[in-house]
Symmetry: C2
């Protein structure tokens, strides 16, 4: 049995009558201190994004407005999931080709990463990525 590519984490909800409040923190849903945060917003209709893998980077993705479909590929299997909830995050470890599709209008996808930007950590060719996964 191989583990699933899609690793979802439950995000604690601390909302009350005032409204919603969601939390990720160390010791809870956040597995690493965050050294970089980026967020994708105002995505043009029909646009897909991603199309790369990371050698080392770990990320936690949460769609805090609207929805997006994220697919992960390990060189053999591909799995995808729709993120559309403040109560669910997707963990993406190293060595996974990721694509983002079907951004809804007004969607905001937050990505919390364990390291600063480093171009050397990217694999931007799918062919090179597949070769790297078969090298081991």
């Amino acid at each position: 049995m191989t583990p699933p590519l899609i690793q979802l984490v439950d995000i604690p909800q601390r909302g009350d009558a005032r409204g919603g409040l969601s939390v990720v923190e160390l010791g809870g849903a956040l597995p690493f201190p965050v050294r970089r945060v980026y967020w994708i917003h105002g995505t043009a209709p029909g646009v897909s994004r991603g199309f790369h893998a990371h050698k080392q980077l770990r990320q936690l993705c949460v769609c805090v407005a609207g929805s997006v479909r994220l697919s992960l590929f390990d060189g053999r299997r591909e799995e995808s999931v729709v993120l559309d909830s403040n109560s669910q995050g997707l963990l993406i470890g190293p060595g996974l080709w990721r694509e983002m599709h079907d951004f809804s209008p007004g969607s905001v996808l937050m990505v919390f990463a364990d390291a600063e930007y480093d171009e050397a950590d990217y694999i931007r060719s799918k062919e090179a990525f597949i070769e790297s996964t078969h090298a081991g």
Copy 2:
């Protein structure tokens, strides 16, 4: 001259024809590794939030959807600012009483903090807060 209570930071925009992408990272707009992230969403109409100070915690706030008005009070002066942009963040250091007002429908306020939740770090009485600021 006393420094302003409202400390805004510019958030780099890496968007292109596909849409927007905003980034905060160490060495850039993020002054500390993030150990806790929370976000306020689905706020009921007319609700205000906050009404506390922190003894030590540092936070960076970004309104990634809609708008909210944030006011800060140091025991003597009060200043407020409307956050409504992916390109601007508000840094809140220790020793400031904060209130959040005028959440727009659909607003999402992200808060990046340098420490995990610790009830002992909160000052929840405005009277006690004012006393603490005059104690020094």
